[in-house]
Symmetry: C4
């Protein structure tokens, strides 16, 4: 399951670059209209990188799976697979309100799918398992879900509020996390 | 063989999203024409997820392979590789009769290819092997093949009959399967 | 090296399907112009399947590699990576002479690259190694190279001569090969 | 981490071929406009091959990772993921000055990202670790960074100076490297 998930995330993160359409001009000005596409690409690259890191870390603590887990995992991959689509829509339309909000909807769904996956894994392994301890209360995960929930309507008011909130989530996860460090060290 | 197959299925499931063409508009109405493409994408994602789960489960019981098996496996991957094409054709034409029927043809061929693969594996491992026991009579597999056979001509009459039958197959496999559970637990 | 090569071949074999452009019509007649693209796709799928099988089998007998081997392998992957391009060119032009000949040039180059890889591996492992025995004289490989050499100019005379010769190579490799069987059984 | 990185590099190296657009003509002359795209493809294939080789070699000496390393690695993959884009821009514009310079900017950024990754790994493993010895002073890596730095402004003067310097770096790495050999032999 880990190899398959890693493969899918690796493909998603890479095919996104196919949305960076080669411009016709040959000067730096030809790259200017691509700026918003490029910014969206960076944000999604980081978001998918965070999912890969967390997912990788989560699966390391897994000792067995059942059919429910396999589908909870595919459910997460489904939402992640939509990231290239919403990234391109948001980027090509220079952060228009609706695409920015829809981008948030996909991130929200992915964060809920991740939550479902962790709960299904804890239900299977038991509340006193290493896995349950490693996941903990997953405060960051729940905070992210909350921020996405707020960001979606706020994007419709001002696109940059939504976008800034997505950035905030990314930065929150990029900051070295002692919990992951500890687990990796063990 | 498992790594290669996992890789191919992971790529097929992911490149399908490239057929979700970014719309030009920036409002929710711009997503409306994509609805049928999106529904087709979900159905195919689930179908490929089912194949991945079953294939994964099948290969776990395999102890050795020969040239025949490698080609029976590539034959299955060939039909699965056509799923993105028929998914896009069906979705972009809002479930027109012929594309819905052709979608069924590819699913039918894939289900037959899967059947051939399991028979070749059982022939190689022996009728009393763990693999033969794990596969069993594969009632669900044969039922799926039968449903596809019926769905193809029925799609030409009314597209939604075919589509509903494909959905039925998907739901039939999504319902927790005690047989797989038992094997995974062992 | 094996995982990377498997990954690259899996991606090449799968992205070829992206060249099967979704037709605009919704009847079976809309698929007719795709027939030559589809035939080319099948041929290339089989050819890449043969390379994957042989490559997989070859690497199983490898015990160590050096920089030379890594590059001989990348050289092979380079030519294989051009298969989707020549497949599409040949298919979209309904087997015009020059594209059929150029398709043969890529197959020829890949077969030479495979030969170089096996020689480099034998040079490294020694002429009395298991690998050298497993590869043997590689009569089929050299015959394939010879057929491609003949097929390229003959394609320019009549496209179907070249195409038939490519088919001949494919069938020659598809026929169960006792040499591979024996090695897989061990 | 190695499997994921291998996967991403395998996908990047392969999707580049999607930029080789199938020409409309059916004679050899139809391939002529593709010549610069093809040359760019070869150069980038070799460059990514070098990164794969070095990265593979580097990770073999790694015994443990932390969050910092995972992100230093993703940072490298980010720049490598832009290679198909700049390759296509450079190739489709027949080596216009600005695209050639921007191609160098991506290579420069990737070489700096690789440097950061090696330093982070050495910081984690200690200056007397096998890894630190294996990496050594990485003279070639630093020389490459220097050549890119020079090539970027020189590309704006004459495109072929920049391009020749990129070729020089590629050749420098292709020449058998006793350091890598020694490590692979151990």
């Amino acid at each position: 399951m880990e190899a398959f998930s890693d493969g899918v995330i690796a493909i998603i993160i890479t095919i996104m670059v196919l949305e960076l359409r080669v411009p016709h001009g040959t000067d730096l000005a030809a790259l200017t209209p691509l700026l918003s596409v490029f910014l969206s690409y960076i944000l999604s690259f980081v978001m998918l990188g965070i999912y890969w890191n967390n997912h990788h870390h989560l699966l390391h603590a897994v000792s067995h799976v059942d059919g429910r887990i396999l589908w909870a995992n595919l459910h997460l991959l489904f939402w992640l697979s939509l990231v290239p689509f919403v990234t391109a829509w948001m980027g090509e339309n220079h952060f228009a309100s609706v695409p920015v909000a829809v981008y948030g909807v996909v991130l929200l769904a992915a964060s809920i799918a991740y939550y479902i996956l962790t709960r299904a894994l804890i239900a299977l392994h038991g509340k006193s398992s290493t896995l349950a301890t490693a996941v903990g209360r997953d405060f960051k995960g729940q905070l992210s879900t909350g921020i996405y929930l707020a960001a979606i309507p706020l994007s419709l008011l001002r696109w940059w509020i939504g976008f800034s909130l997505y950035l905030l989530v990314a930065i929150m996860w990029l900051v070295p996390d002692r919990r992951i460090e500890r687990n990796l060290a063990e």
